[in-house]
Each structure stands twice: as structure tokens, then as C-alpha cells.
Amino acid sequence: MNADIVWILMSSALVLIMTPGLAFFYGGLVKRKNIINTMMACVFIMGMASILWVLVGYSLSFSGDIGGVIGNLKWFGLNGVGAAIGPWLPTVPNLAFAIFQMMFAIITPALITGAVVERMRFSSLAIFVTVWSVVVYYPLAHMVWGGGFLAQIGAVDFAGGTVVHISSGVSALVVALVIGKRKHHGKISYHPHNIPFVFLGAALLWFGWFGFNAGSAGAANALAVHAFMTTNTACAAALLSWMLIEKIHSGKPTLVGASTGMVIGLVAITPGAGFVPIWASIIIGALVSPICYFFITVIKPKLGYDDSLDAFGCHGIGGIWGSIATGIFALTSINSVAKWNGLAFGETALFVRQLAAVGVTIVVSVAGTFIALAVAKLFTRKLRVPISSEDIGLDIAEHGESAYPSYLGFD
Amino acid sequence: MNGDIAWLLISAALVLFMTPGLAFFYGGLVKRKNVISTMMASVFIMGMASILWVLFGYSLSFSGDVGGIIGNFQWLGLNNFGAEPGPWLPNVPNLVFAIFQMMFAIITPAVICGAVVERMRFTALAVFVTVWSIVVYYPLAHMVWGGGLISQLGAVDFAGGYVVEINSGVSALVAAIVVGTRKHHGKITYHPHNIPYVFLGAAILWFGWFGFNAGSAGGANLLAAHAFMTTNTSCAAALLTWMFIEKAHNNRPTLVGASTGIVIGLVAITPGAGFVPIWASIIIGACASGICYLFITMVKPKLRHDDSLDVFICHGLSGIWGCIATGIFALTSINGVAKWNGLAFGETSLFIRQIAAVGITIVISVAGTLVALGAAKLVTGKLRVPVSTEDIGLDIAEHGENAYPSYLGLD
């Protein structure tokens, strides 16, 4: 029991550091004049989502059940959530589970912000992610992990393919469509301003993802070990296949590309980490790169929306592929939470339910995002910064800070 | 048992994180125009070594024994690993040990790359490290930890003095000699382009090395605590010594120097972390800095080879010192794996065996590296980039990326 507490707490710390990791990943990808603003979104969410989770979030997600859609307020302020073992994990206290789940509630809204950087007003963004947590994240977490109706129909999600990745990815797409394009979108190239930061962020994400996936086993047991191995393997396979695609396509493998490959590999294995065999994780990882690469380079330009940092292309598409792949490769012998084997082993029941869960997640995310955006607009009137701020850069305009004031050598 | 699984999984995550740390350590030390290509080497290896390990690396290193040199193919694809403990660690399942060891197979080839940065072709490097993993790393891991030749001899290596440090250091020296010097070697000084990155990398290495050394105890036990303490102590002693020497030598302790001291101290304690008493770790760390500083300032300038980032000195030389020091200070009362006490306690058996093992490691590394370089040359034609590419920088020429495109202020 103590060992399981150690593992859950360590995993929680690992998942927490993913959000600063994401801030570096996104921060390196934007223009120099917008990095503070980009990181600031993650920082604000680390505060907001933590407090909201303690107040109402954990209760709404995991206490009781109202119509299979949301929990109740019995655990308001983590009241009554203490050292008693269970109810969610058999060997660790309720509070440890609340801590671990909190980290997921932090990173998920942070993922969305990648779609709207360089143009959304900070105050609008702050209200949006707060409302979004309440109307999208808590219901979805409840539906999938808190005994709601997606869990009841038998769809599985090991560490957050639907709750975290599809929900944030799809929401990101909706927000990007509503907010509109950046001023020069399509005319000038948006170029990463600090590629080592992108890699630093991707490395922190890889490191933290072990807590994310292996920690989701809920104990320091053989399933955690299995999820650890599938996580690393899928990530490695995706990064290699992205590099290979670039080598074939342009002759030059890039560090931004390899970092992107890492992240989408991790995204893709998330729903299946504790369900699929190790060999399948190579396939899941190796295929997610061509799928996302094709989407980002061929489909996205035709659609013309401006998802600045490909939050949908990486998390949405990667998550959808991962959830479907779980329906293909899952084995009940690895984890009996899955009631059926996957399509590759001749059963269709799980596969169909995975598709249904993807569909439900998309519907909830789209609807909830519209609500959250409307609320944000109600409070702050405008979702976007004025064009002049976009030109000056959001760092100075919104935060009065310059990221590297002495870049040019003046101290 | 669960506690041991938790500890080893956390340690594995820590060791994985060392490779991005190394990428920053090396990336900060090179010229600005070569930082992407330097980091890219680590990134590629994180993918390649993971997949290779899952497919056959673990099997070749740890399954069975063919002539004391290499394992067999029984564990191909990590097939049919159960949840029962053993065979390598008494309290944890086989897959846990496979995961932990995988991280070592990742970082070792990544260490070598520091010797050939700024001039070796990326494709040649990729082929080289892949072949090297098979012809050098797996046999050596088998010989030292997998029940092969060196372990039968009675030489000890707690966390990788032979397998990781001497091995990568010597291979780096060979690779540097074969690939040749950089264009301006000896004429212009190679200046680190981003010293905070160097320190960031060294700090991540220090952080991760706790997993590397204390995790090598194989469980959450007293030996792990001992190794944790010797690791930190040796590292601290080496960093202070380096700063002190610099202060005495030219009155200016430097951050690059202190970061180098950190790495050297960690390398030196690696083979002995779980064998030597804590007081000895101070001596081991302090002497490591002295030896390496002497070599860098007195011996290296007289040699013609261009080991760009001093991989041989920091890892090879310091590793050799660490392995010999283990033969001097080891105590059987700390860890019964050592069958004899060290030289300092009046016994010579272990000391002689440690030196013999150093010799064997050097022979294997040299031979294997030449084979791997030969294979790389065969496949890719040329090991080096053309001189014009060296001038432009490998980032643009090989990867089409510029690490900090807006350094000059254009967003």
C-alpha cells in the first residue's frame, strides 16, 4: 500500500511537470514576441485548474453520478476526501487519487491554448479555460473514469485518449475556427523562434508521460510496468517514423519534426497503454506519424483554418487514432477492464464502442467549447487582441514583458 | 515488491531524462550553427535504441549465454514476460529490469556523439550508433551484467563504469580519430554558444543520475540509499575540486568548468556507488576532477585528435579512474557482490580484476567501434560532411533548421 502511494505521488509530480514542459514546447514554436503570452496561458491554468479541482472539480468528476453525465457536490472542497483507502483505487487513499487526477485536469485545458496563441486576449482565454474545465472536462472525466455512461457502455480509455487528447484537440479546432486566423496567416511563414525550447518541452513531456500512463495503472504493479514499456516504445516508433518521412519527403530530418513525432507517439499510446501488447505499441506509434503528417501537410492547408501549433493535428488526430487502435489491439488478458479483445483478435464489440466513445467525446467537446467561448465573450466582449497588439506582439501588449530583452547584446 | 517496482520505474524515468539532459549539455557547448544537429543525435538514439532494445537488444544482453560474450534470441520482442519476479532482480518482474536497462542502452551511444559533433554526417552517425549498439553495447552489457566473461572474472561494476562510461569514452576517442579534426581545429577556439544550456544539461544529468546509480541497487533498499549518497557526494566533491583548480590556476572559476566537474564526478562514482564507503566517494570525486583537468590542460593539446566535447576525458578517463578506484575502496561489507575488499584494505584480488576488466572493455570498444564505423562508411559512402557544409553549419545544411532564427530581433 505504501509503495502504491509512493508511485501515485511520484506519478502525479511527473504529470505536473508536463504542463511547464508543454509551455516550453509551445513557447519555442511561436514567434519571439509571443512566447511570454504562450507560457502564461499554461501558468495561469496551473493555478486555476488546481484550485477549481480542490473546490468542485474532483467532486463533480468522481463523486456520485447524475444521469451518467456528471457527479455531485458531496466532495466539495475535498471534504471527506482523506486517508481512507478507496473508493477509486483499491490500495491508495482517495486523496492520492484526487491529486493524481488533478494533474490531468491541469494539462488538458493547457493543450487547447496551442490553437489560439499569438492572437487571443489573455483575459478571454482565462475565462474560456475556466468555464471549459467545468462544462467539458469534468463531465467527460466523469463519463469515462467516474462511472458515467461511457464507462457503462464498455468503452475503455487507459490514461486519457478521449478525456484529455480528443477533448482538447477537438476543442482546439473549434476555438481556432471561432477566433479566426492570425493577421498574416497563409502569407508569411510562422517560424519556431527557439527550437531547443521545443525539444526541451518534448523531452519533459516524454519524461512526465511515464507518470501519465504508467501511473494510470493506479498502483506499482505489473500493469504499470506494461504501460511504461508501451509508452516508451510507441514514442520511439513515432519519432523514428516522423524522421523517416521527413528524410524521404525533404531529405532533411528536423528537430521540430522529431519532437512532434515524440508527442504524437505519446498521445497515440495513451488510451491503449495498459490494454495493448508491446508489439502493437510499435505499430500504433509508427502509424500515428504518417497519419498526422498527412493531416498537417495535406488536409489542414486545404481547410484553411489557423490552428497555430497543430493542437488538433497532434492531439485530436493522434488521440482519435489511439482510441480506435485500442479497439483494434486490446487484449483482455493484459487488462480485464476491457471486456472484449480488439478487432485484430476477431472481436468487434470493443471496436464499435471505442468509435462510439470517440463520437460522444467530439460532440461534448464541440458543444461545451461553444458555451465556454460564449461565456468568455460575454465577460470580455472581444476574444481577440486588436490588430495593433498582434503586430507589437502579445508579450508587450498583454503582459508588458519582453522574453529576451538583451538578445542583441545590450545588458 | 511493489515498492521495488515503483522505485525502478521512477529510476528508469530519471535515466531516460538524462539523454535530453545530455543533448542540452552538448548542445550548449557547440557553435550556434550546430546545436540542432548535436541535439538531433540524442533524439535519434532515443528512438532507435528503444526499438532495438524491445526487438532484440534485451535478449542479446540478458537472455542465456553464448561463449560468455553475448546472449541468445530467446526473449525476442520481449515475448511472454510474466508478472512473476526474476530472473535478474529478485523482487521485480523481468519487464521492469528490461525497462530500466533500456535507458542505459539509450544514453550510452548518445554520449559518444559529443566527440564527432560539428562535422559528422547525420546519416553516417545514425548507421554508426545503430551498428555500435549491436556490436559493442549488447556484448559488453552481457559480459558485465548478463553473466558473461567479465562478471565471471569477478570484476564489479555497480551502475555502468565499464558498460556505459569507459565504453562510450573509448569509442568516442576512436570515432574522433577516424572522422578527423574539424576544419579550424587548433586555429580558432571552439566556444560554447549557450552556457546556461550547458548548466541545464548538467543539472538534468545530476538529477537523472540518482536513478542511474541508486536505481542500480535493483530495489528500494539500504543499498539504494547508500548509492544515492555516494553519488551526490562524489559529484559535489568533483565540482568543488574543479572550481578550486580553476581558481588556483587562473583565478576564475567558470560555469562550464563547474558543469564539467559535475559530470566527471558522477561518472567516476558510477562503478563504485554501491561498493565504496561514503568517505571514499569524496576522494573519488575530488581525484577525478584533478586527473581530468590535468589531462585536458597538459596532455590533450599535444595530441592531434579532435574530441570536440572531451568525451574521452570526461567519460573514458573518469570512468577508468572510477573502476580502478572501486578496486581500491570497495568493501564486501557494503555489498556482497564484491568478493574481495579493495586495495586500501589490503587485498589485491579485486584491484587486479578491475584493471583487467578495464583492459577488456577498451579492446572491445576499440574493435567494435572500428567495425561500426566501417559499416557506416560502407552504407553512406562518407562519414564527414563536405567542408562547405561545415562552414554553413550542420543545422541548416543537414536539417534545414536554424535553432534561434530570431536572435537578431526579427520576429
Binding site: S189, Y190, H191, P192, I245, E246, H249, S250, K252, T254, V256, G257, T260, Y293, I296, T297, P301, D310 | K33, H184, I188, S388, D391, I392, G393, I396, G400, E401, N402, P405, Y407, L408, L410
Partner: protein
């Protein structure tokens, strides 16, 4: 006295500086600059999408030289900085009316 301003490829900096030192031109002001011109740009790929960089990094060097050194200097720069490809850069020459060493107040060619 002449002011020689040159714009060159960044990778030519080291060898050109060395060559200029050989003909005793030691005072050079060097800045990294960005610019656009006939070279147009180069292609970089971000997540598979090709983007053309139209503003490229160059090195600008400014030096003041005696009149009789001018031709020799120009020849040297052309020789050292030339690759034959578009984007090798330019040399601009202009007249300098006075040069003063701040430390001593000394004027004229001796102050260069």
C-alpha cells in the same frame, strides 16, 4: 581615407578576417545582420510544411582604410568571400572626411 562596408555570407567571416589581418587591416566592426536581395531565400520545413525564408542572415563588416590600400583590399575580399552563387554579398566604398582616435585626440590616417 575610405570606408569599406561589406555584406558577406556568415560562413565566410573567419577566413576573411584572417586574410584581412594579413594585409594589416586590424580594425573591423562586425555585425550580424539580416537582409534580402537577389538570393530570395531558402526553404525550411516546419512539421512537413515548406516555408520560404525571405530574410536571410548575413555578416556586415565596416572598416576604414588608407586610400592606397583600397584596390588590394577589394581584390582580397572578392577572392575570399566569393562562391560564385547568388548571395555572395556586396562591397560599398565611400569617402571619409575625418578620423579621430578618442584616446589621444589624434587625427587623420594615423588614427585609423
Amino acid at each position: 581615407m575610405k570606408k569599406v562596408e561589406i555584406i558577406i555570407r556568415p560562413e565566410k567571416l573567419e577566413s576573411l578576417k584572417e586574410a584581412l589581418n594579413l594585409i594589416h587591416i586590424k580594425g573591423i566592426t562586425i555585425s550580424p545582420v539580416m537582409g534580402c536581395g537577389n538570393q530570395l531565400g531558402w526553404k525550411e520545413s516546419v512539421r512537413g510544411s515548406d516555408t520560404v525564408l525571405t530574410v536571410l542572415p548575413k555578416i556586415m563588416m565596416i572598416m576604414i582604410i588608407e586610400d592606397d590600400k583600397l584596390e588590394e583590399t577589394i581584390k582580397l575580399i572578392v577572392k575570399e568571400a566569393q562562391t560564385g552563387e547568388v548571395g555572395d554579398g556586396k562591397i560599398f566604398i565611400s569617402e571619409i572626411t575625418e578620423c579621430i582616435r578618442i584616446r589621444t585626440g589624434e587625427r587623420g590616417e594615423g588614427a585609423i
